[in-house]
């Protein structure tokens, strides 16, 4: 009897080990086994990096917990929605309730999942490629758009019909940024992402610099001179700088290109990319000089939209930098102590009369062709992200510079004192936005863009700003690598 029992136990153990063997292999790896790759959910870019310059792929920070919630009418059509920013999902969830109220005959219920940045996009791409498993609605970060758009309408559902009621009020250049190469609209934008210059006025005033001085800044030379004045006034202590330049993001280069009206992608999918542009060279040369002269430091961890950057700002190690308007939400979420200190102004330009802003980053939300009811999903998505109701909530909750331009000059919207963003800064953000309305340039995001960004953030910017390689030499190397891909 005992023997039989033992035999049963042993064979059970054998079966178990065979089954386990299918997925295993990790246990007997001597050194670094890479099987764990599958559970690399910590690829996370933190929530913060969501909209960060298209170059953000590598610059990750903390892990974001995976969160799943289901919202809406249980009897309605059930949809799935993925995002890499929890705040986006929270926003959509609120819009689901509004949608169900407004459309009792077409109610929906959505299950929202928040993944880390990396997983969100790799999972989406893999499921699109496989033809199964994709969600109905998914957030796609600007830098990932070329990858996800590769399948055009075999992968994605065009939004053109759904957005027709709102399209007239939307900023065309922003919509165009999310068009496929076939001219159809596949992504719905959250914001313009216009770049502006942020100034820590409270600290500047202590150094004897007034708002008039800041307003008088027109060119980058003026701006650098003001920085020198600030550093002189505080006695140039160690660790204090005017600004920090990025090795992990290409925002500065984008601003330079927009000011000269250039585009290193060549402007379209088939054009030859060229990073050896006058604007890029000028900006990089200037940045290198600032680092050498002590006016600027290299951003800790690569750019300001990371924990290290927030800390740097909180410590008042840097007092002025250019960043897109969506960076306002980082102040609210990560630097609430700074309330009332900061002033928003136009970005400086190289030569007077140039355009002074560029739309950076963004989340294009797509409806997949695998959706159970793509038309319904598209209608909801456009309602959430483009209708005045949706746009108002985007401004209130997420603090983005919305694409619906009809709202920009609406006093109730732009000067609403109950809005936390309006009260956080010294001036009304939308006043700045209105003043640069016609000066917001675009740098295209095309299939070669991820390669350019990768080369810049991994190699070129580090070479120039950290290792002192000459601008011409570093750009030549970059050009060689990028040309290989085309």
């Amino acid at each position: 009897m005992k023997k039989k029992f033992l035999a049963v136990i042993l064979s059970a153990a054998m079966v178990a080990s065979v089954v386990a063997g299918c997925g295993g292999g990790a246990a007997d790896g001597g050194a670094a086994s890479n099987d764990a790759a599958a559970d690399s959910s910590a690829a996370a870019d933190d929530g913060a990096a969501d909209d960060a310059a298209a170059a953000d792929d590598g610059a990750a920070a903390e892990e974001e917990a995976q969160a799943v919630t289901t919202v809406g009418d249980p009897n309605g059509t059930h949809l799935e929605c993925w995002s890499f920013v929890e705040a986006h999902n929270t926003f959509y969830a609120k819009m689901v309730d509004k949608w169900n109220e407004a459309n009792p005959d077409r109610t929906i219920e959505i299950t929202f999942t928040t993944y880390p940045y990396e997983s969100n996009h790799t999972k989406l791409l893999t499921s699109l490629q496989a033809g199964t498993g994709a969600p109905d609605i998914c957030d796609v970060e600007m830098g990932q758009v070329p990858n996800v758009y590769e399948g055009l309408d075999t992968w994605l559902y065009p939004l053109d019909d759904a957005m027709a009621p709102y399209a007239a009020d939307m900023l065309t250049s922003r919509l165009d940024a999310y068009k496929g190469s076939d001219g159809k609209q596949y992504g719905a934008p959250f914001h313009v992402g216009a770049t502006v210059q942020y100034y820590n006025m409270a600290v500047l005033e202590e150094a004897g610099i007034t708002q008039e001085d800041v307003d008088a800044v027109v060119t980058w030379d003026d701006w650098a001179a003001l920085g020198e004045r600030y550093l002189d006034a505080i006695g140039r202590p160690e660790g204090k700088y005017w600004t920090s330049v990025d090795t992990g993001g290409v925002d500065w280069q984008w601003i330079a290109m927009a000011e000269y009206g250039e585009d290193w992608t060549g402007g379209s999918a088939d054009a030859a990319a060229n990073v050896q542009l006058e604007s890029v060279k000028k900006m990089l040369t200037m940045e290198q000089e600032w680092v050498n002269s002590g006016l600027a430091e290299v951003s800790p961890d690569g750019h300001v939209d990371l924990e290290a950057g927030f800390q740097n700002i909180l410590d008042h190690n840097i007092v002025s930098f250019p960043k897109a308007m969506w960076y306002m939400s980082r102040f609210i979420n990560y630097m609430p102590e700074e309330k009332g200190n900061w002033y928003i102004a136009k970005c400086p330009v190289f030569e007077e009369g140039q355009d002074c802003s560029v739309g950076i980053g963004g989340t294009g939300t797509v409806v997949t062709a695998q959706s159970v009811d793509p038309a319904l999903a598209a209608d909801f998505l456009c309602y959430a992200k483009m209708s005045p109701e949706g746009e108002t909530m985007i401004w209130e909750d997420l603090g983005f510079d919305v694409c619906n331009t009809s709202l920009w000059s609406d006093d109730a919207f732009a000067h609403d004192e109950s809005n936390q963003y309006n009260t956080f800064f010294r001036n009304y953000p939308y006043d700045v936005l209105n003043s640069i309305k016609d000066q917001i340039g675009t740098v295209m995001t095309v299939p070669i863009s991820p390669t350019i960004n990768e080369q810049m953030c991994n190699v070129t910017l580090n070479d120039i700003l950290e290792n002192g390689v000459s601008v011409d030499e570093a750009l030549q190397t970059a050009q060689d690598v990028i040309s290989l891909e085309q």
Partner: protein
């Protein structure tokens, strides 16, 4: 009755027992391998795939980033071979000797890191090697008067951090392999060596080393592959496959970047196959040199 006969048949039984392995091997290893080979000659598109011939491989040859990745993986592999074979062997011999007290405790200590998740340990190492003055390593170097370093931005310190992570994690595992090898050595051999007047070093050199050679070869073989195929450590240390000046880019990191992130599975497959070929060639040379394929001398 027939079933019983079948089950008790000495001819059929072995096949019945190995069939689960054969099936999973065919399905999970051979099929993916074949499909990787075909894919490496293709451009995998959204709807259809286009035959490219050797274009992916031709591009690989001209790709400077791929060369960086290979160089990094090689340096890391050599580093792990230098650090992760002699030291674990030494620890194993020490633990096997009478010199060490509380053996179970030391074994557990050295083995414990292997049980932690790379995701967590990699993140901790990243924080330790952070460039801020408050990072653990910078606290130590400043206390020693050496100033602070941007550890993960420079080639030498970046590789050092990777090797430290690897040593911390794998020393205990390799030590266990060597311990089991040592246990199988007949103590009578040591006794007779002692009678012949051998000292401790001579016993180690002429008895231990030759007799644990099979273990050493096993550890060497898996270490060569594991070193070349390293991905997680670098991925966690730099929080993604990208690192400044590509100092942390490995072959598999590049495969992930191309195949998954940039969705170019054809090019990714070509990278994977090159890795397979490199690892195979090195290991075959190494195994021949070690005499593994020779007929056993009886």
């Amino acid at each position: 009755m027939k079933i019983k006969k079948f089950l008790y048949s000495q001819k059929a039984a072995p096949y019945v027992f190995v069939i689960p392995f054969i099936l999973s091997f065919l399905f999970f290893w051979i099929y993916p391998l074949c499909s990787t080979i075909t894919m490496s000659f293709q451009d995998i598109g959204p709807a259809s795939s286009e035959w490219l011939g050797f274009k992916n491989y031709a591009k690989l040859l001209r790709d400077p980033t791929f060369r960086t990745a290979i160089a990094n993986s090689f340096e890391y592999m050599l580093g792990t071979l230098i650090l992760l074979i002699p030291f674990p062997m030494l620890f194993a011999v020490l633990l096997d000797s009478r010199l060490v007290k509380a053996k179970g405790f030391w074994k557990a200590c050295l083995y414990l890191p292997a049980l932690t998740s790379v995701v967590i340990s990699g993140t901790l190492f990243r924080l330790m090697f952070s460039e801020y003055p408050t990072g653990q390593m910078n606290v130590i170097t400043s206390a020693l008067g050496l100033g602070t370093f941007k550890w993960l931005k420079m080639k030498a310190t970046g590789l050092g951090a990777l090797l430290l992570t690897a040593c911390w994690r794998w020393t205990g595992v390799n030590m266990l392999y060597f311990l089991s090898g040592l246990k199988s050595i007949d103590t009578a051999l040591y006794e007779s060596a002692e009678i012949d007047g051998a000292n401790a070093w001579q016993k180690f050199r002429y008895v231990t080393i030759p007799l644990i050679k099979p273990t050493t070869i096993y550890v060497l073989t898996i270490s060569v592959y594991a070193g070349l195929a390293m991905f997680m450590e670098s991925f966690m240390l730099w929080a993604g496959p990208a690192s400044p000046n590509n100092i942390g880019l490995t072959i598999v990191g590049y495969l992930y970047n191309r195949g998954i992130q940039k969705n170019d599975l054809g090019y990714g497959s070509a990278i994977g196959l090159v890795l397979l070929v490199i690892a195979l060639v090195i290991n075959i040379i190494q195994l021949i040199a070690n005499g593994t394929f020779k007929k056993e001398e009886r």
